[in-house]
């Protein structure tokens, strides 16, 4: 997979190994970022104008002029610095020149020939990537792609607002702000998730601004260079072919109706089981094994169903949440002792994780939407989107498992799907695949 990262023309480099943050600059981060925003806006307007000239240049010569390419690349690198600073993925103030030693930086390959056809329709071709980027990291200019509208009522409003200001990255930054004020360091998982979100957004923006004609890849494996995957009692396994039956893809929501009804009914039972488990854990220090099995099966079944509905998984899942019965599966460790005070406050402790989980759900819905179209045309799911979907599902499952007392371990925000050593050899012919 290292070859895959090296192949990407726009790569994120993270040198923020100690994760240290100064409380004072964290506290005033948004105020400190105002000059950066102003400069970014000015530079952004110029970059978009230059990108239009670049577009004409590529249409005429087939290759972008080097000086214009360098100008836009410089803007994108500065955007990555500014975003990393605002989203607390880096600590130093980024200045105005786009220094080469900033802890979160982009490596952008020199200009190469680009397909004229892909250039003509670049704006339309970039739309799916922009849609996904809007739910992950926002984009240059006004602090985020203005995706969706701002409504003040209804459940969907919060998600839309978060999407508008940076999606997953913004939620992670919001939580990191509190964490860093207390601990003087950024949490590793959230920092990695922000870096991954910025990485994808940078690729999408670079594609839109004609720095490359290589389509952005959402594959979380690209985060291997800077992210860690900690051990966790709730792990996701992906052993599912990418081929999809077009007919079942077309009718996916209809086919999922029995599962959605069953999941709803099961969730009522799971709620009461969790209440009983909470009292039992408070008294005895651990959840009774029968309740643990019941709740673990519920969490696993929910993962199966959402994987099916959102096309992360291909086959119709079973109805009992049995381990090993589905291609996108959860491995859940046996019950363990839980600290009573953490059990007592479990609901409140889970709230930050729910913020991240809901932001990742937004990305997951976009993954499902894009995969639906892609699979209808090609008959298979894109590798990168499928893996990103699995990462989102894992976070949701770990959050539910934490809330339902299946595990005392807090969810991990790591964007990696699996340990680098555990990854099988990748077919290099798949490197050119979009998403």
């Amino acid at each position: 997979m290292a070859a895959s990262r090296a192949e990407r023309p726009i790569r994120l480099v993270v040198r923020d190994s100690d994760l240290a943050r100064r409380r004072l600059t964290v506290f005033f981060r948004l105020i400190l970022a105002i000059p950066v925003f102003v400069w970014l806006l000015v530079w952004g307007v110029a970059a978009f104008v230059v990108a239009f000239v670049l577009w004409l240049g590529i249409l005429i010569n087939g290759e972008p002029p080097e000086s214009l390419h360098a100008f836009v690349a410089g803007y994108l690198r500065y955007w990555s610095h500014a975003s990393a600073y605002v989203f607390l993925a880096a600590d130093p103030w980024p200045g105005f020149r786009g220094s080469t030693d900033y802890p979160v930086d982009l490596e952008i390959d020199p200009p190469t020939r680009q397909s004229r056809w892909k250039t003509v329709f670049r704006l339309f071709l970039a739309l799916p990537a922009i849609l996904l980027a809007s739910t992950l990291g926002g984009a240059p200019g006004e602090g985020g792609w203005q995706f969706g509208s701002y409504h003040s009522q209804g459940h969907g409003s919060e998600w839309r607002v978060w999407s508008g200001v940076g999606g997953v990255a913004a939620v992670c930054a919001f939580l990191t702000w509190f964490y860093a004020l207390v601990r003087r360091r950024a949490p590793r998982g959230l920092r990695d998730l922000v870096a991954y979100s910025l990485s994808y957004t940078a690729q999408a923006t670079g594609y839109l601004l004609l720095l490359t004609d290589r389509y952005p890849s959402a594959d979380p494996a690209q985060a291997e260079g800077y992210a860690e995957l900690p051990e966790h009692p709730v792990r996701i396994t992906v052993d599912d072919p990418l081929e999809r039956s077009r007919l079942t893809v077309f009718f996916r929501l209809l086919l999922a109706i029995p599962h959605l009804i069953w999941l709803l009914l099961w969730s009522i039972g799971a709620f009461f089981a969790a209440v009983v488990a909470w009292f039992a854990a408070l008294v005895t220090g651990s959840v009774p094994s029968s309740l643990h099995r019941f709740l673990a099966a519920f969490v696993r079944y929910g993962t199966h169903v959402y994987a099916y509905v959102l096309l992360v998984g291909g086959r119709f899942p079973g109805f009992v949440g049995r381990e090993g019965s589905y291609g996108i599966d959860l491995q859940i460790e046996p019950r363990e002792r839980q600290r009573r005070w953490a059990t007592f406050f479990r609901f409140f402790l889970a709230i930050p994780a729910f913020f991240v989980s809901s932001a990742l759900s937004g990305a997951l819905f976009v993954v499902g939407f894009l995969t639906w179209w892609y699979a209808l045309v090609t008959g298979r799911a894109p590798d990168g989107l499928r893996n990103l979907g699995a990462v989102c599902l894992r976070y949701g499952a770990q959050t539910n498992a934490y809330l339902l007392l299946v595990t005392p371990r807090y969810p991990s925000g790591s964007p990696l799907l699996e340990h680098a050593a555990a990854k099988p050899a990748t077919d290099l012919t798949a490197l050119g695949e979009p998403y």
Binding site: S245, L247, T248, F250, F251, L254, L255, I257, P258, G314, R315, F316, P317, G318, F319, S325, Y326, G327
Partner: protein, 123 residues
């Protein structure tokens, strides 16, 4: 209650001066009646075609649908649900073009004024 109403009706009689309903030609002109007949005939033919197509597609599905068992990780009952829901989807998909034609026909004869987009989402 119905029985009581029937008993009361037994004692009633039809008035002698009640005139029979007039034939349609006495009310509508021949051209309009012909147009109504044409409208109805087309819908009848469309129904026959749609039913035949549906039966043919369901026959194919009955023979080939077993291949979709591979798409299921569920047990026999769950897989049956999958095949059943898929059948529902296929029925909808097969009938959709015929309904579209019928809607076009209705609009053409002024029997319906809903636009195609509204109809599609309403359907």
């Amino acid at each position: 209650m119905l029985t009581a109403a029937s008993l009361f009706l037994l004692h009633t009689s039809v008035p002698d001066d009640l005139s029979k309903a007039s034939p349609p030609t006495a009310i509508f002109d021949q051209k309009l009646l012909h147009r109504a007949e044409h409208y109805e005939r087309f819908l009848d033919v469309l129904w026959v075609l749609s039913t035949l197509t549906l039966l043919a597609v369901l026959a194919v599905y009955a023979r080939r649908g077993v291949a979709y068992v591979r798409e299921s990780s569920a047990g026999p009952i769950g897989t049956g649900m999958l095949l059943g829901m898929l059948g529902l989807g296929i029925v909808w998909l097969v009938e959709l073009p015929f309904r579209l034609v019928a809607h076009w026909w209705d609009r053409r004869y002024g029997a319906d004024e809903i636009g195609y987009v509204a109809w599609l989402f309403g359907d």
